[in-house]
């Protein structure tokens, strides 16, 4: 497939190539981890969810240029959506994914008119405000959401009716890996589509866009909706693979965390963001088993490094390295 050939992408303007030769390495590492760390598949699955969530937020911030401090709302809605559906007896995992995507897309659709308009600052406040409203609503609706205790009393049927979710988490990992691959491919496609070009246009010169007849607000609303739907898929996957849905999945900490993850990975760079999310998940797990305080300290250092030393994050490093390699 020519889609997998980075050279075929050369037509789109150069900076911030969304598809990079690093992509095969990412998937090779993910597949290798299945064989190399069979005892850590639960962690690996959580990291895949984080990678999906990061890609969904990158579509919003990196490609559409919309900052949000409430993106975890869509992760949480996806998690609750699939968990609640499973509690009602609809335990098919793919149905759960579809439900997670739909409910998040629906809420994004409702919110988009207020998020799309306004400056970065108003967007931060609005998304923050909406997120805390939804968090509180989920907390109050105990019958539906389990309140502070969350939801754990649901089943997940075998995938495609064939592959049961085993105790070692093998099915869960391979399931998450497949969904990640699909999301990765989908994002690559979206960002190299006519729609993706329009998003680049908005970031490059939002003033010129209406002067060429562009429905800027609609473009932004569509990317908000797509981004919400993908986060919803991630949330559903999280609930299904961890057998748990809880308030923290739509909380502020997750929303803030994903902004950091995407900054570290390099906004607008799909491969960089994926690697950034994986690195973040690994380091967080390693440091927080030592001490939560180390984690906070490490996080601070890594973030400052990514802002001051490596502009453009990991994606920026990949691009610079790639250019260096081509010259040599």
């Amino acid at each position: 497939m020519s889609a997998l050939n980075p050279a075929s992408h050369g037509g789109l303007s150069k900076p911030a190539l969304p598809f990079s030769p690093v992509t095969p390495l990412i998937f090779a590492a993910l597949i290798a981890s299945y064989f190399l760390f069979p005892n850590h598949l639960a962690l690996a699955t959580q990291i895949l969810v984080l990678m999906i969530f990061a890609l969904s937020y990158d579509l919003l911030q990196g490609h559409a240029g919309i900052v949000s401090l409430g993106h975890a709302v869509f992760l949480g809605l996806g998690a609750y959506g699939s968990a609640i559906l499973a509690r009602w007896g609809f335990t098919d995992p793919l149905l759960g994914l579809a439900a997670g995507a739909s409910i998040s897309a629906l809420v994004a659709l409702v919110l988009s008119p207020i998020v799309v308009r306004g400056s970065d600052f108003t967007r931060l406040l609005v998304t923050l405000g909406v997120a805390s409203l939804i968090h509180e609503a989920a907390n109050r609706m105990r019958d539906l959401t389990g309140g502070a205790d969350g939801l754990a009393d649901f089943e997940v049927a075998p995938l495609l009716g064939l592959f049961a979710f085993d105790f070692e988490g093998r099915t869960a990992f391979l399931y998450a890996l497949t969904v990640f691959a699909l999301v990765y491919a989908a994002l690559w496609r979206v960002t190299t589509s006519p729609f993706g070009l329009a998003l680049r246009g908005i970031r490059e010169n939002s003033r010129r866009m209406p002067a060429i007849g562009s429905p800027v607000a609609r473009h932004l609303a569509v990317s908000y909706l797509l981004s919400g739907a993908i986060a919803g898929v991630g949330g559903a996957l999280l609930a299904q693979t961890s057998r748990f849905a809880s308030l923290d999945m739509l909380g502020f900490e997750r929303s803030a965390e994903i902004v950091m993850v995407v900054t570290l990975g390099g906004t607008g760079h799909i491969a960089g963001v994926s690697i950034g999310a994986a690195a973040f998940g690994l380091v967080k797990d390693a440091l927080s088993t030592v001490s939560p305080r180390y984690w906070q300290l490490g996080l601070g250092v890594v973030l400052m490094a990514s802002v001051f030393l490596a502009r453009g994050g990991i994606g920026g490093l990949i691009e610079r390295f790639g250019r260096f390699g081509r010259r040599a």
Partner: protein, 252 residues
Amino acid sequence: MTAALATTALSVRFGAFQAVRDVSLSVRAGARHALIGPNGAGKTTLVHALTGSVKPAAGRILIAGEEATGRSEAQRVHMGLARTFQINQLFRNLTVLDNVLLAVLERNRRTAVFWRSVRNDRAALDEARSCLAFVNLLALAERPVAALPYGSQRLLEIAIALAARPRVLVLDEPAAGVPAAESAAIFERIHALPASLTVVFIEHDMGLVFRFAERITVLVAGQILTEGTPAEISADPRVREVYLGRRGDHAA
């Protein structure tokens, strides 16, 4: 015959300051119509109001007889009104080709497509290339805009506007900041535009205005001072006073 572009008693205010005052303008289809006037006369503001990036305080705008006053800037483009900017408004980190391709895709309303590669749209690519060929930029199609010489960037401004396939094209100082030798080349391209296209342009160089315009509107302090043929305008003592007065004894 209905005018290609018309305004009635159009006014624009910035707070207490009235930048455009009671402008009633009628541009015939296929015209080459110049808008002149000293700096700060309100020419650019009038263009903003025509195209919809600034909301008028009063008055109406008609495009080919159709009411455009309440329409958004993007809607007016789809009604057939495109413009260029006095200060370049380009997509600087995109290639020259992608700048024009984006405009073609927006006109086609193809930018809603997110499931196919932008490179698959052969028809749109061909059209973008033909817009570039018209302004002699095809050889630079794969360059990023930021690497383009300034004069070529001014031509790209025009190519992007042409990609909207306008019926009326408004050019705000298309040769602004370009050395005299190159500005003639830019106007030569404007002159080569199809005769059916209505062109309104702002220009300071009177030589170019008299050479390329068949009708001239003079704007002073937001108001129309007069309108006429090049011969009438060059003979009008009030116009001479505005222009000579600025350069001459009133300059201090």
